[in-house]
Symmetry: C2
Subunit: 395 residues, 2 copies
């Protein structure tokens, strides 16, 4: 070994993870993660798979047979969703108002699709009218939307766009990475054909899996493809034979990440014990408390309209004269709280506060507001309680 540094024991600091994810693990999830490992074809594990699938269906609110976790992070779910549906030359309509919409465009083009972009500024929800206009003018096979844009904290109007997808008879694909479990989502009710999420956000499970679900309509399109899916690892027709094959006819594809699936199963149990509606309500209430406190300090939220603010991911504008990175650095090192910085065109301009799963608590909001106030004062920003509407965010 080149030095003793490499041989040092792992000693991570304890953090309150209020960034864009990962969120802190639930204690029961930690326990599940270290349960005795069994093989990926063990009869016990096959039961665990069936149960996980059933729990996922309930969480997504779907009866889709093809529902399982992809063995990769949320971005792997995005690629799996897109690469199975797209063939060379397919027209795809994509809502783009943040980094993850842009990522969809990149992936679609790599897999040979032609993108039709419907755009908004980051932080502004996509316009239903403009999406309908594009649908009317295009031959799109697929319509893609990010539910909660993790880069800006905006909620896109998934339900309304779902109605349009039905009206124009296109497949509807939704990124629910930062919404599943924390925001109102009803895959079957909203007419969503493909939906994926991540485990490290509102599920309080480790990063590394991406729950996904495909409607029968989507699966028919996939079964009728002219060409093989370019990715082998994400080919849902093959993975399905392992996940949905039934205990006796499962067909090995790749070694399932057994421990992560234990953890996911536990996190879904926790969520469903609480009840989805209760969880959505708690996320909304806790976020409202945060926003109240933020605005009382004279800060502003990036997303203007209350109803388009994601309760799970709250983007706060950094006021002029305040060093965004320095505040974030000190929140972490002095207060032990992680919040996210801005990505892409929002770099240096916002803090992104994740309140996800068990982290969505009034206590955490109080802790963060106190620490943030302290750091703002330290930088000479006046946080005295404002009356009435929040003042322009100048220090």
């Amino acid at each position: 070994m080149p030095g003793s540094r490499l041989a040092s024991e792992l000693k991570p600091p304890r953090r309150l993870l209020l960034g864009p994810g990962p969120s802190n693990l639930h204690p029961r999830v930690i326990k599940a993660l270290t349960m005795p490992l069994v093989g990926h074809l063990d009869p016990y594990f096959l039961e665990v798979m069936d149960e996980t699938t059933e729990l996922l269906r309930e969480t997504f609110r779907t009866s889709n047979k093809v529902t399982f976790p992809i063995s990769g992070t949320g971005s792997a779910g995005m690629e799996a969703a897109l690469c199975n549906l797209i063939e060379d030359g397919d027209e795809v309509l994509v809502g783009v108002n943040g980094l993850f919409g842009e990522r969809m465009v990149d992936i679609i083009q790599r897999y040979g699709g032609k993108c039709i972009r419907v755009e908004e500024e980051w932080g502004i929800p996509l316009s239903i009218e403009r999406i309908e206009e594009s649908l009317r003018e295009s031959n799109a096979k697929l319509l893609c939307l990010v539910h909660v844009e993790t880069s800006s904290g905006v909620v896109n109007p998934v339900k309304e766009v779902g109605d349009l997808a039905k009206k124009y008879n296109v497949l509807f694909l939704v990124d629910a990475v930062s919404s599943l479990g924390g925001c109102v989502l009803d895959v079957d009710g909203f007419g969503i054909d493909v939906c994926y999420s991540g485990t490290q956000k509102c599920l309080n499970s480790p990063p590394g899996l991406s729950p996904i679900t495909f409607s029968e309509k989507a699966m028919e399109v996939i079964r009728e493809r002219k060409s093989k899916v370019k990715s082998w690892y994400f080919d849902v027709s093959m993975i399905e034979k392992y996940w949905s094959g039934g205990s006796k006819s499962r067909f090995y594809h790749h070694t399932a990440p057994v421990n992560l699936i234990y953890a996911l199963r536990e996190s879904l149990r926790i969520l469903l014990e609480q009840g989805l509606e209760n969880s959505w309500k708690r996320h909304r209430e806790v976020s409202e408390t945060l926003i109240e406190g933020i605005e009382a300090m004279g800060l502003e939220m990036l997303v203007e309209a209350q109803r388009f603010r994601a309760p799970t991911l709250n983007a706060v504008k950094t006021p002029e004269g305040v060093d965004e990175a320095e505040v974030r650095r000190r929140l972490l090192s002095i207060h032990g709280i992680e919040v996210g910085g801005g990505l892409g065109r929002l770099a240096g301009k916002v803090w992104r506060v994740g309140l996800m799963g068990l982290n969505a608590s009034q206590t955490n909001v109080t802790l963060l507001l106190k620490a943030l106030e302290q750091e703002l004062i330290r930088q000479g920003f006046n946080t005295e309680p404002r009356e009435g509407a929040p003042k322009p965010s100048k220090g």
Copy 2:
């Protein structure tokens, strides 16, 4: 919830995992897995990444800058290795003597490559002469080989083929999923340009990551691609900016599976504390004890020549008249020992015994031989010690 079944607590049985992987986790790895979670851009985690990279370089025996774990299982590593190097129409030479060689062919074709197959029967090592012949006749850009074929337990002659790759100036790609840590492997010494493995084999870490390394020569080819890599998730030029960017210039690609990386880091520390040579030697010795016991019972190994038998994955022929699946089922349910069955054309014909990492111990061999003997006798097979060479394997 539809029923209380779904709400049941996770209670996996304890298994001794002597199949093709996953192997049992090392207790220190379990501890690492549940260490406090930090964000994937946390300064502490960036250090963990640098250390993991350094430990991986030492384990692969390489000085390659681009060395990190892919966020997916071993098969994800295979796809990542191939999809970055292949462009439409590229000729690729592939050694095929088992399921994982076949999988390479499938992936190469999906990514537009033209495969030139050099084949052998499953269980027979690839012929160096025939590979050279094919190299002489082709315009291959890339030569691919599985080091240890998990489907048959054969070791392919990586070192010798590496010499050929150098001689004919082609890139050399090696699958080390079932060999890294357990079999002699020297990435730089053998002239390997791309090498990947899995964490759930000889590293005794959970499944879900695939350590990978790219030589500078491979990276140059990737940097000079005419087309974008079709996969976004596996695009090494982008992932590299997150892993190799240095603490100050890391660029977010996807959320790293933090807990799995904690676990991997610990498993590499354990391996390197023992020493690679010591680990290779132990795997060899333990496997030899197993083979002795197997042959003493009148059973035969699938791979004939001793030096082409993988110490990590031992394929034992099921003797005529013995119910392969029933023996395996009872080993699991009565004795708590998992062994693998045959895949593809070897289904029903072999047991695959993995002796990987901490599972490669004389005690485990004794436990397995005892249990196997008991089950063979139960099926009326004569396991009386043979003298001299093993007799034909009839019951």
